[in-house]
């Protein structure tokens, strides 16, 4: 139950990218602490400003001149000192309460860190998210990009680092953020109890396309999750229609293979996102575009128009080639 | 303020015009400089130790700097403090002759330090571009080199000034006293840096 439901009236406040719509225990606890601090500080603020406003109203001089300076009478000075002292005591107590609440929340969130049954490795890149699910049997390892699936009601450990500059992994509905830094491996634990598609965005300035570095966390039932994992671990069947076959030929004969992997083909580069199951994703270009044929075609022919500065070059080609390529990629589910 | 001509006067015309230590404005300025430079050294030493926690071996893949030249220089630095203190005290008495001798002697000591420092740099056993250890130890050393060189040039100028009788006045003796004080700082700040550069890697290794 969102205590700050007052803000629900503001359009968009109950969305899939906000910390005030927590869908898991960590974000929930944080939101409770947020609420406590909000009401406490709001009360202190309003009280202090009221006293200020009343003082000004009561004591303002009506004539525009400067009367001789005077000393505040001792009695009034003493009473005011006591009031100030009292205000200090109250402030310190309130501060202490908020501090303890903060420590308690930190402890509650942190104590789960050892126990997650699932692990997701996230590698930050300029400007996309490499996602791997390490498995004891190497051939079952899932490699994907920009989309993370997790089972609901289960702890999941995110193991994060960066392949280049500092990025920050942040899905506000689920948890606070954690930086992904070269030379460091950061581990933290998340959990989503509500199924849905929760949007995250890079939260550490990482260059010109920092604004277009988003990801999705898809929380689904355990069965759906396992189905997804099995599908992702597998190699897609060879293309079956003339169009998709031609599309594969286009893919393999152009610059695409310099950066992308599609398992089951000779394309094995790890510079850019793994495209083995790109057709199954909701979005492309790190959450920038919807994953449909028109957007994909636009992206492939000139990524620089959409994300200027991105590492992928423009790929001008005959329209038919483009259509076939897009059809092939969309078939990779 | 009001009617100044009718106010009582606080006559300061007999106050001294030449002071040493806390009575000298320049002394305070030099103290400020020492605070700043001391802070830079302290932060660089902290950075050195911080980086040492990020490597499994320290120094990684190399030997620490050779002990010989650094230790020799440290001895020369410490010995120089004797004439340094002597001429500092004589400056308080306005003894031109003593200050001249002291400044010349300290200039020679400083020159010796600079020459030995050259040999220290040749025996660092690493390069600043190889790894973070190399960068840290060279930068820490480099900071002190800049320190040493600028103070030496300063002292040479002061020495020359003391041989110009038309430019010698009370202020100059305060300058000389502060110059000696600053040399203390150059030497005393070297001691912990020497320990960090030459001994810390040997102790950490043990």
């Amino acid at each position: 139950m969102n205590v700050l439901s007052i803000f629900a009236a503001v359009p968009g406040f109950t969305s899939n990218q906000t910390s005030l719509n927590p869908v898991g225990p960590m974000a929930q606890r944080i939101e409770h602490t947020f609420t406590l601090i909000f009401f406490t500080t709001a009360a202190v603020y309003l009280l202090t400003m009221a006293v200020t406003a009343i003082s000004v109203w009561k004591n303002r001089l009506h004539k525009d001149e400067f009367p001789p300076p005077e000393q505040t009478p001792t009695e009034q000075y003493k009473r005011t000192s006591i009031a100030v002292a009292g205000a200090m005591v109250i402030s310190i107590l309130l501060l202490f309460v908020m501090m303890v609440a903060s420590f308690a929340t930190s402890h509650a969130i942190g104590k789960e860190n050892g126990r997650a049954p699932f692990e997701v490795d996230v590698y930050g890149h300029q400007w996309w998210w490499e996602v791997q699910y390490p498995q004891p049997e190497a051939y079952k390892t899932v490699v994907t990009a920009n989309e993370i699936h997790i089972p609901t009601n289960s702890l999941v450990r995110i193991h994060g680092t960066s392949r280049d500059v500092i990025h920050s992994f942040w899905a506000p509905n689920i948890h606070g953020k954690r930086d992904l830094m070269p030379g460091y491996e950061n581990d933290f634990v998340i959990q989503a109890d509500e199924p849905g598609r929760w949007r995250g965005q890079c939260a550490e300035f990482c260059g010109p396309q920092h604004a277009h570095m988003s990801f999705l966390v898809v929380a689904e039932s355990m069965d759906q999750f396992h189905n997804w994992m099995d599908a992702q671990a597998g190699t897609p069947p060879p293309p079956s229609t003339p169009q998709t076959q031609h599309g594969q030929v286009v893919f393999l004969s152009r610059a695409c293979i310099m950066c992308h992997t599609i398992r089951g083909t000779v394309a094995g580069s790890r510079v850019g996102p793994d495209l083995t199951h790109v057709g199954s994703r909701d979005t492309i270009a790190a959450g920038t575009l919807r994953n449909n044929p028109q957007e994909l075609a636009k992206w492939i022919s000139n990524p620089q128009q959409i994300k200027p500065g991105v590492r992928m070059p423009p790929n001008p080609m005959p329209q038919q080639d483009l259509n076939d390529l897009v059809a092939y990629l969309e078939s990779l589910r | 303020m009001e009617q100044a001509i009718n106010r009582p006067a606080l006559d300061v015309s007999n106050l001294p015009t030449v002071g040493f230590g806390t009575k000298s404005i320049t002394w305070w300025g030099i103290m400020g400089m020492m605070a700043i430079e001391g802070m830079v050294f302290a932060l660089m030493v902290a950075a050195y130790f911080y980086l040492s926690t990020r490597s499994t071996e320290w120094p990684p893949h190399s030997n620490p700097p050779d002990l010989l030249w650094g230790t020799v220089n440290t001895l020369v630095f410490v010995i120089s403090l004797l004439p340094n203190e002597w001429y500092r005290k004589r400056a308080h008495k306005g003894d031109v002759g003593a200050v001249r001798i002291g400044l010349v002697v300290l200039t020679l000591f400083g020159l010796a330090n600079i020459i030995i420092r050259y040999f220290e740099l040749k025996h660092m056993n690493t390069d600043w571009s190889i790894d973070a250890y190399g960068s840290a130890v060279w930068t820490l050393m480099g900071l002190h080199v800049v320190h040493l060189l600028t103070d030496w040039v300063d002292s040479v100028v002061l020495t020359v000034l003391f041989f110009r009788p038309d430019l010698v006045e009370g202020k100059r003796f305060a300058d000389a006293s502060e110059n000696a004080g600053y040399w203390y700082f150059v030497v005393l700040s070297w001691i912990p840096i020497y320990l960090v550069i030459y001994w810390a890697p040997r102790w950490l290794h043990a």
């Binding site: 990218q17 400067f66 954690r178 | 001294p16």
Partner: protein
């Protein structure tokens, strides 16, 4: 306007006083002419230059922000592409923090007012003061020339590695940023030493520690903070430059370097930096409250002790900028506690200020309006600070627009509002003319409303998931409306500042004469003409109270016996300000300017070729030797008059 030749009550000077004025003016007046401009060493001259220069940078940074708000007013907008936007937001932050806030709040105000408020004729180390100004302005010009050549800094005002390092920050943009830091930090450090020495040793006799004006307390504590904070950013920016130009490996994790080393060094500076900006603002508020409530400010001792404790505690907070990096829990707890603890002395100050209002007779003129605006805005910023002090909550709010809102509330609230109060309060003293009360109040309300309209919604849009430093956002994410409101508010701010500039321009030409003390205030700067004469005070004062003009009896002595044919000044003891000695200030000289030119050459050359540092050091050495080389005549004169202090 030239100083008026009258006393504080308007009585014209006697013949004897006029003769003294002539003698002092001959010794102290600033050299005229074009070359003379570069020789100036008086603190009021240099202080005015700092103020004008810093304000120009404020305007430039404001224009950058206005264009940013235009870009963000619509989703997927094309006013600025990502490369330009990244330069704009970096230049905005860098300019505001390094070229406006510290130079204005600390350097400009302390250089101009501290010597006057302690009753001295100049600031300690006047040539260093001139040098520090030239270095500041040259560093700022360097950065902006680079910006206009499309080589503006573009990695954020803090320029984290590895993004700004040799691998991911090609070109010279981060190099110009890093070297600008060196310019401004040497400048600030120099002024810090001058302020400390002025406050310790040049106070008027009788100005014991408990009679030092709060403005001076604020600036001297700030000066100490500068001394211990700035070296850290000097080191971090130098390490960045070395990694980029000399192949050092400080931040390269594959050979033992560490990206967090940069953050620790930067924020060791960065957190005290914001208090360096805020403490003078708080001091201004304490100062202005007195004449506008017609009494001593409430709780002098509490205010001073709070200032000092904030100065110390500020050094214990820096890791709260790094909560998202995965620091150990015990460190998290310590820095949360410290970050919350610092609000205790701040709260004490706020309650003392409110107590002053509660017990005072309030004169509602423009400076007071800005003080009230400060209370409403800064305290709000302090409240949101509690949110980000808590680690778990910060992990949601860090690097979002919530933080942008927080720090604009505390920085604009805590520095810009007091600054406008100070500008309205002291404009008459500096120029001899009054600003318009009507325009002042109009400007205040436009700014206050415009500020809240611009920055309050940022709390909401940050909670709603909008990160910082994004050049655009998608149309369907729900941030559009809030961004449009924010951009509209920026328009109000723009109009407000234009009105201020208009007010200043007209007042300079035909504002009413201010007189010595238009606000009937109590501190020493009001005990001389507006603007002050070249020698500050015809008779150096002694003091017997905290607000000398109000508290001192008519029999309060004045200092006599200083030679008026040289720039002789009085030194006093640190604790009780008893007279101790006499020294001479240097007169106008071109050497500080030449030394600054040489230093500029050395700094700029070294970012292109490291050997530039060594070669550039030669002209620096030459100009510094020229600077310190004594002159024969003055030396002879001093030798003749020497009195040595007893050991």
């Amino acid at each position: 306007m030239s100083p008026e030749l009258k006393t504080i009550t308007g009585r014209p000077l006697t013949a004897e006083e006029l003769a003294q004025h002539e003698r002092l003016d001959r010794v102290w007046r600033e050299p005229s002419g074009f070359i003379g401009w570069f020789k100036a060493v008086h603190h009021t001259t240099i202080g005015k230059r700092y103020m004008v220069t810093a304000f120009i940078f404020f305007l430039l940074a404001g224009i950058l922000a206005a264009v940013m708000r235009l870009q963000l007013a619509m989703p997927d907008n094309h006013v600025l592409g990502p490369d330009k936007y990244d330069q704009f937001f970096t230049m905005h932050g860098t300019t505001m923090m390094f070229l406006f806030a510290v130079p204005m709040m600390f350097e400009a105000l302390s250089v101009y007012f501290v010597p006057l408020m302690v009753g001295a004729r100049n600031i300690a180390f006047p040539r260093l003061n001139a040098y520090s100004y030239y270095l500041y302005v040259m560093g700022g010009i360097m950065l902006y020339v680079a910006f206009f050549c499309n080589t503006g800094a573009d990695r954020g005002w803090f320029s984290y590695v590895p993004l700004s390092g040799p691998d991911y920050g090609p070109g010279k943009r981060p190099d110009f940023w890093a070297q600008m830091i060196t310019f401004t930090e040497v400048s600030a450090l120099a002024v810090a030493v001058e302020v400390i020495v002025t406050v310790f040793k040049l106070r008027a006799p009788g100005m014991s520690l408990n009679r030092i004006p709060i403005m001076v307390w604020g600036e001297v504590v700030t000066a100490f903070m500068v001394l211990f904070a700035m070296p850290a950013v000097a080191l971090s920016s130098t390490m960045l430059l070395l990694d980029r130009t000399a192949s050092t490996q400080f931040f390269n994790p594959s050979v033992g370097g560490d990206v967090l080393l940069y953050q620790h060094l930067f924020w060791w500076f960065g957190h005290p930096e914001v208090y360096i900006i805020f403490l003078p603002g708080a001091a201004i508020v304490s100062t202005i409250l007195a004449p506008f409530t017609r009494r001593h400010v409430f709780g002098y001792t509490v205010l001073v002790l709070s200032t000092v404790s904030i100065g110390f505690i500020a050094f214990g907070l820096w890791v709260h900028h790094m909560f998202a990096t995965g620091i150990p829990q015990i460190a998290e707890s310590f820095f949360t506690a410290a970050s919350m603890m610092i609000s205790i002395p701040s709260a004490a100050q706020v309650f003392c200020w409110i107590a002053t209002l509660f017990t005072g007779k309030i004169v509602l003129r423009t400076p007071m309006w800005w003080v009230l605006g400060f209370l409403f805005v800064f305290v709000m910023g302090g409240m949101t600070g509690v949110f980000v002090a808590s680690v778990p909550v910060d992990l949601q709010l860090h690097d979002t627009y919530f933080v942008v809102a927080h720090f604009h509330y505390v920085l604009i609230g805590g520095a810009v509002f007091p600054l406008f109060a100070a500008l309205h309060y002291w404009f008459p003293k500096i120029t001899g003319r009054m600003l318009s009360e009507k325009l002042g109040q109009l400007q205040f309300w436009l700014f206050f409303i415009g500020f809240n309209v611009t920055f309050f919604p940022m709390h909401l849009v940050g909670i709603r998931g909008m990160p910082r430093r994004v050049y655009t956002y998608p149309p369907d994410i729900g941030w559009t409306r809030l961004n449009q409101v924010e951009s509209f508010g920026a328009l109000l701010l723009f109009v407000s500042v234009c009105i201020f500039l208009w007010d200043v321009a007209t007042a300079l030409r035909r504002g009413p004469a201010a007189g010595w003390n238009p606000w009937q205030a109590g501190t020493l700067e009001w005990a001389t003409s507006s603007p002050p004469p070249s020698y500050n005070f015809l008779h150096l004062p002694t003091v017997g109270g905290r607000e000398p003009i109000w508290d001192d009896p008519p029999t309060q002595p004045v200092v006599t016996g200083l030679h008026d044919d040289a720039r002789e000044y009085l030194t006093t003891r640190v604790l009780d300000a008893e007279p101790e000695g006499r020294e001479e200030f240097p007169g106008p000289t071109i050497w500080p300017f030449l030394a600054a030119l040489a230093t500029t050459f050395m700094f700029i050359a070294s970012i292109f070729r490291p050997i530039g540092f060594t070669i550039g050091a030669i002209p620096v050495a030459i100009t510094m030797i020229g600077w310190f080389w004594p002159e024969r005549q003055p030396a002879a004169r001093r030798r003749e008059r020497e009195i040595w202090s007893r050991p």
